[in-house]
Amino acid sequence: MESTIIEPEIIYERPEALADTVTHYCPGCTHGTAHRLVAEVLDEMGLQEKTVGVASVGCSVFSYNYFECDFVEAPHGRAPAMATGVKRVLPDHTVFTYQGDGDLVSIGMGEIMHAAARGENFTVVFVNNAIYGMTGGQMAPTSLPGMVTTSSPLGRDVETTGFPIRMSEIIANLDGASYVVRRSLHDAANVRKSKKALRLAFEAQERGLGFSMVELLSNCPTNWSMTAKDSLTFIKEKMIPVYPLGDFKVIPTLAELRV
């Protein structure tokens, strides 16, 4: 009998733009998923060699270790200003920031708003986990009403600490923004949608259309004190009602694009 050798078909492998290394993220954290999606997009679009990433301060401060491209690391909240500096000098390069919600919505509110208003031609990957992960789970401006954190031990009281800030909706109002959407990383279908959004955001940049941002609803099992699985359910049931998924700004040129 003749034996046939079946060549294995690779259907899943590490993107080239993603470093072959162990990450420091907690088990179950979606930062890893977000990294992978960005790396896949860099691969697909062939951008790796001309990309400069801008890491921020937060759990993703070491994200530069996980991408196979040049990186700089910004002070807390200042990534959009730093990215402005990089991109203005290197307009033909691809520049993205990777920021948490404490970084982007609290201390870096000024920098993100003005970068968007100026229509800076870079992409922002905004990971919203409604908490300060790195410093051990304090309240963020994005924390949900009633959410128990280490700095709102009785639950976030909107009377004294204000209300969650929906950044994508706000930034979509700025004329400089070309593409602003919110997606979620809580299940496979939404991960695929997140990937597509990231692709469009980088497409916007490559076409010189101006500021693009993808907000990704993410988890923090450690500081939410939940199992990884429960944390994904929490995103679906508790976060999405406060942070509805959707396209808040898609300029017409992009809307026609099929990726």
Binding site: Q48, E49, K50, T51, V52, V54, A55, V61, Y64, F67, E68, C69, D70, F71, V72, E73, A74, P75, R78, A81, M82, A83, T84, G85, V86, K87, R88, V89, L90, H93, G110, E111, M113, H114, R118
Partner: protein, 371 residues
Amino acid sequence: MAKELLKGNVAIAEAAVRAGVEAYFGYPITPQTELLEHMAKRMPELDRVFVQAESEVAAINMVYGAACTGARVMTTSSSPGVSLMMEGISYIAGTEIPMVMVDVMRGGPGLGNIAPSQGDYNQMVRGGGHGDYFPIVLAPASVQEAIDLTVLAFELAEKYRTIAVVLADGSIGQMMEPAELPEMQEVDRQTPDWATNGAKGREKRLLSSIYLQPEDEEKTNLRMLKRWMEIEANEVRFNEYFVDDAEFLVIGFGTAGRVAYSAVRAARAEGIKVGLLRPITLNPLPSERMADLAEKAKAFLVVEMNTGQMLDDVRLAVSGKAPIEFYGRLGGVVPFPDEILEQIRIMAQQPPTDTNGHARQRWFERMAVLD
């Protein structure tokens, strides 16, 4: 190039343009604003980068990003704006990349006023931001020197991968004098081998100020210190006037040094053997030269437009070898030559002998303006 009548701020800006600055980021603040305005016109004209940032916090971080690409970059501001930049300055120092900034100092603390002051000496010379680092600080006393030191600042910043600050007081920024600008230099488009400009055909690079392991941070601090010691050994700059036979020595930088020069000349005309040492590098300070001069001088007079911030460093340099007196005007008040001449006369008539006590205390009692 022929001399032309130039305003200090404009002269600094145009000097930077001709030195090949590729990107400028700033925010309006008096008495520095004409500098930003000149850049707003010139940089786009030359197809270079100009951004008016939303704040000094953003401006310095734009500088940080642009500097990481290996481009020649600069920012300029004045005292309150510089305070806001301190976070970014510290990060830039910790990343060991070159950057030029200009501080056109005004009266402070707080909002203060827009008059010329030298109150940011400590802030700039000590670094101002958090952590262990040493910026080069250059202090011009004329529009011409502001031009020359701006060009030098780029050279030194790049040579040592460090921060170089041109510390001018408001009068240098605002006054008009005949001065000669340098020839237009080609923009140097070569990227240094540390720059993050896309990992094409090479290993990826990271520019950051993070060293999580204390041993690595210590090593980094020591590397920066070593570089600083090289700067101390090679880059001290100062001017001297009438020091050869001087019995008394005045020390002042920037505008205070310039006013002191008029006073010293007038004193010489009266037969007083007085000389002037005008530090051009405030960091590194010409401390050795001060110590040498202390061997033969009967007494020193330090003149500043602050409460004696450099005075403390002069005291350290002289370390008791000669008595030191101090004269300062503050808050945006510029001393007249006559005021300094009077102090020189007092020093010559009754040479101080006391090396104990603090010159600041004696000056404060002489001033007695609060009563």
